[in-house]
């Protein structure tokens, strides 16, 4: 199988879906320019023209809300927002309109809102507090949205195609540190389904559930601990709504120990939710308290050593695994 980059994988998903369905279009800052660096939207304008590849002003609310309007009129917009941090300016449009209008207004007439919001998340690039956030829990907290968190070029392409074909609003979160990743991606058409977690590494001693770039760190920690004879299972949920709780609970029933790694601030975060789901469904299987590795509710600082102190790391994950094993 050929090897391609994460951004090329997303780019191919957009290109193939735009060919497949004329109602798909993309919009965002600078999407008209293919540029000299790899990008998710490179080359689309040459094939699809300016009507379906629309560069926008710095107007996040208008862009996100326009996706809602276009979707109401039968289109399938894909909004490229670059950083998730910027999208806080458009949360009324995404949380209250995209997420709630079908339920509130669409009881008849089959209202659907097929929209993809692309929001790049994550720290580890010295970008400071307003360019480093991973606000997964914020979206997971709101009704009506689906949430995809790709981790490899393969699942990035497959999940993005699923997102574009879905009749609901999907928030799609690539991670800055994964955008340069390379990996095997087939040439033929395929999709990756929502709601099916991927077991990235099988193990018997402890289950680590990790999201986004945290999967990479968790796999590194698992390799390191293998030298000490610890057999770690790493689960990548891929989507947080729908969430494959069954697969997570099944793993905990096998290992009896759980660590959740999530880059977002810890309080009321994805780790809290996944932890509670396990407590509600498999409390009897737990041999030790669940451990969380997350940002301890701090803004992400700029300086390298400070940033590392705040965000999860391979070492912190190793420590959490050892703690749950020692308990």
């Amino acid at each position: 199988m050929r090897t391609i980059g994460f951004m090329q994988a997303m780019n191919e998903a957009l290109q193939e879906e735009m060919r497949r369905d004329p109602s798909v279009y993309v919009l965002g800052l600078g999407v008209h320019y293919s540029g000299t660096h790899p990008s998710v939207t490179a080359g689309l304008i040459d094939e699809f023209g300016a009507a379906r590849v629309r560069s926008t002003p710095v107007s996040e609310a208008a862009v996100a809300g326009s996706c809602v309007g276009a979707a109401l009129a039968g289109m399938r917009p894909v909004a490229q927002f670059s950083l998730a941090d910027f999208v806080f300016c458009a949360l009324d449009e995404i949380l209250c309109k995209a997420g709630k209008w079908r339920y509130t207004h669409g009881a008849e007439g089959g209202m659907s809102l097929p929209i993809v919001f692309l929001e790049t998340i994550g720290g580890y690039v010295s970008a400071a507090s307003e360019h480093s956030q991973s606000p997964l829990a914020l979206y997971a907290h709101a009704p009506g949205l689906k949430i995809a968190v790709p981790t490899t070029p393969y699942n990035a392409k497959g999940l993005l195609k699923t997102a574009i074909r879905d009749n609901n609003p999907v928030v799609f979160f690539p991670h800055k540190r994964l955008m340069g990743a390379q990996g095997p991606v087939p040439e033929e058409d395929y999709t990756v389904p929502f709601g099916q977690a991927e077991v990235r590494r099988e193990g018997r001693d402890v289950t680590v559930v990790a999201t986004s770039y945290m999967v990479t760190l968790a796999l590194e920690a698992a390799s390191k601990l293998e030298e000490q004879g610890v057999d770690t299972e790493v689960i990548d949920p891929l989507t947080l709504e729908p969430l494959d709780t069954e697969r997570i609970v099944e793993s905990v029933r096998k290992t009896g120990r759980r660590v959740v790694v999530d880059e977002d601030t810890e309080r009321c975060g994805v780790g809290a939710e996944i932890g509670m789901q396990v407590v509600e469904r498999a409390f009897d299987a737990l041999k030790a308290p669940i451990q969380r590795v997350s940002n301890p509710n701090l803004p992400v600082p700029y300086s390298r050593p400070l940033e590392q102190a705040v965000l999860p790391s391979r070492e912190k994950i190793e420590k959490a695994i050892q703690q749950t094993l020692a308990a």
Binding site: A51, G65, A73, C96, Y103, T104, H105
Partner: protein, 319 residues
């Protein structure tokens, strides 16, 4: 060009129906059947002149005030009222209430946030443009909403993309309890048009014919692909911000309200039609009577409708 007599009568009839609906809601409010507030459009029926220039395949986004948008587009007042009651037969199955929608008539929902409609209107017009259709979008907003960033972002974007959209500002001078003088740097909302390089025009919002003529021109322009326009209707809300007794009163000068009552858009238009012989005194009576009867039927329908079963609370989140 003056509309034909038939269209003049239709405009008048829809103004009377809109007022009759408002009066019905006002009469029902003290009975507690509507569990929340309603923002009355009494005095702003000149808007009917803008709506009457649209085709069925056009789109409308609308403010939180008034039922004219719905009644002009062909919605059933019984189903509107049923929605306000929270009944299953309402347009949103009781889930939207006053945040009304009627998807069949391309009325997709009242935004719970002031200014939430503007970006949605942009998207509706974008869809039309991408598909190469000749529908237009008419997006209503208030002077208060002109203070929202979404309004400015959206006006800019419609101009940059030359979208088929008509911005119609219903300037009633008040944003809740706050007069424009305390909130708005510009006297005329239409002045924004210059900043966004689109045509702007001010009209007497209580002169329904002037409203009709101005918006018809803007609609024709949008339909021809020449881009958006902004029309400001100077009008006034006669009632308080909301019906239902929970909103403060006494913040306006009663003389101001009385002065505007004398400029009632329906009375003014009736006088014009009578003087021109388009309308007879008999017809005035007949149109009024029919509107009242229509609202009685609506009330009966809403009263007799069932509340939704509780299971409905758990459906329709995802498509």
């Amino acid at each position: 060009m003056e509309p034909a007599s038939e269209q003049l009568l239709e405009i008048y009839t829809n103004m009377v129906r809109s007022r009759a609906f408002e009066e019905l809601v006002i009469s029902i409010m003290p009975k507690g059947k509507i569990p929340a507030g309603w923002m009355s459009g009494v005095g702003q029926e000149g808007i009917v002149g803008a709506l009457s220039g649209l085709r069925e395949d056009d789109y409308v986004t609308y403010t939180h005030r008034g039922a004219y948008y719905f009644l002009c587009r062909g919605s059933d007042p019984g189903r509107i009222l049923a929605e306000l009651y929270g009944k299953r037969t309402g347009y949103c199955g009781g889930k939207g209430g006053r945040h009304l929608a009627d998807t069949k008539h391309r009325l997709f929902g009242k935004s719970g946030t002031i200014g939430g409609h503007a970006p949605i209107a942009v998207g509706l017009a974008t869809a039309v443009q991408i598909r190469g259709e000749d529908s237009v979008v008419m997006s209503f907003f208030g002077d208060g909403t002109s203070n929202r960033g979404t309004t400015h972002e959206s006006m800019n974007l419609t101009s940059v993309w030359k979208l088929p959209l008509i911005w119609v500002c219903e300037n009633n001078g008040w944003a809740g309890l706050t007069p424009s003088s305390m909130s708005t740097a510009y006297t005329d909302v239409a002045d924004l048009a210059e900043a966004y390089s689109i045509p702007g025009r001010i009209v007497d919002g209580n002169d329904v014919l002037e409203v009709h003529e101005a918006t018809r021109e803007a609609v024709a322009r949008a339909r021809a692909g020449a881009g958006p326009s902004l029309i400001e209707l100077k009008t006034y809300r006669i009632r308080e911000f909301a019906e239902g007794g929970w909103f403060p009163t006494g913040y306006r000068d009663p003389e101001e309200v009385e002065a505007w009552k004398k400029r009632d858009p329906i009375e003014r238009f009736r006088a014009v039609l009578l003087s021109r012989g388009v309308l007879t005194a008999g017809q005035v009576e007949e149109i009024q009577q029919k509107a009242v009867e229509e609202m009685q039927v609506a009330q009966k329908f809403a009263d007799e409708s069932e509340f939704p079963p509780v299971e409905d609370a758990f459906t329709d989140l995802y498509a």
